[in-house]
């Protein structure tokens, strides 16, 4: 998984039926995790807000994280990082 900051959300009216009700968030990986990874779109299944630092799971794990195993999802927010932690050490 990677750590990222939620920087925005995204609307898509015309989409796969299986994505109806899914919330698209734009996540920016934190600096130490960004070499191979630019921003990505992740589905939020736990109620993350813009500005929060989150844990993003990718691949088949993402569908499981959203309890939407039959939806075309390859990235999901699966945890919000508790405040006051320094993961850059």
């Amino acid at each position: 998984m990677i750590i990222g900051k939620v920087v925005g959300s995204l609307f898509s009216t015309k989409k796969s039926e299986k994505l109806v009700g899914s919330k698209f968030m734009i996540v920016e990986p934190v600096e130490m995790m960004e070499i191979a990874q630019s921003r990505l779109v992740a589905i939020d299944g736990i109620g993350a807000g813009i500005g929060e630092y989150v844990i993003v799971a990718q691949g088949s794990a993402a569908r499981i994280g959203c309890d939407k195993e039959d939806a075309p999802i390859d990235a999901a927010i699966v945890g919000i990082i508790d405040e006051g932690q320094d993961w850059s050490k």
Copy 2:
């Protein structure tokens, strides 16, 4: 998922039988999402047109997005982004 712009389509007469009827689109990721990702070929299951900005799912999620779980697809257009949104902030 990533955001990209549909920049072209592609024809392949000789292909896996399971891909018959699939529409190959060439998608160019938007700038903020392109570090690790150059253009790719994605199957369109929702009727995206050239010039539209779309959400692309990759990996096993792509087959699910196209309702073609037994087809050799690793990238699919799963949503068209509503106009008037600025995802570069």
Copy 3:
């Protein structure tokens, strides 16, 4: 999926039993798709020849593309691109 050119083939006598009969091809992604991807070895299930431009599927999609779901394959040639198309626009 990505577009690549078949630039060679490869022989492996000592290999996983499940790969017996599989044809290993070396594929070089076309320039606009090569940032994150150098050459790779893909299984050919449709009869591609050296010099042809092909569509390569990766990940679990590759096994499906070759109808070899129990073989250790992570890249497969799933289509040959029709001649006369310009995908670099």
Copy 4:
């Protein structure tokens, strides 16, 4: 799999229910394995400590490594490397 050093841990109170009880560790790949890979968050299923060198499996393998096949996990610590080995040769 890649080799990395456990450099920290991470707490997430608000997370996917399926992750309750999982221990989030921050792993830094060793130099020879870091070109395409910056730090990542991996679930520890074997009791690795900070400072130890570990083997990290990614993708669907990670869920299997943690015996949590229905949890949204895409990276797991699956082995601790015995001391006294030089893998940089």
Copy 5:
């Protein structure tokens, strides 16, 4: 799949039970395949030796290549390349 050279092996006494009996090899991708890929740890299921050039499958294909579908493996040596071939042309 990628082509790499086996450059070393690795011991891990404390590891996932499902990895008991697996042999960890360090593989260095050949130059033309190394842009996105630094060294990696792959399980050897076919008896490759140090110095040999091998074919490595990644992702879920790796578990299949080792006949260890329930083990946390994301890279496996699935073939040894016959000598006398030039794959750099």
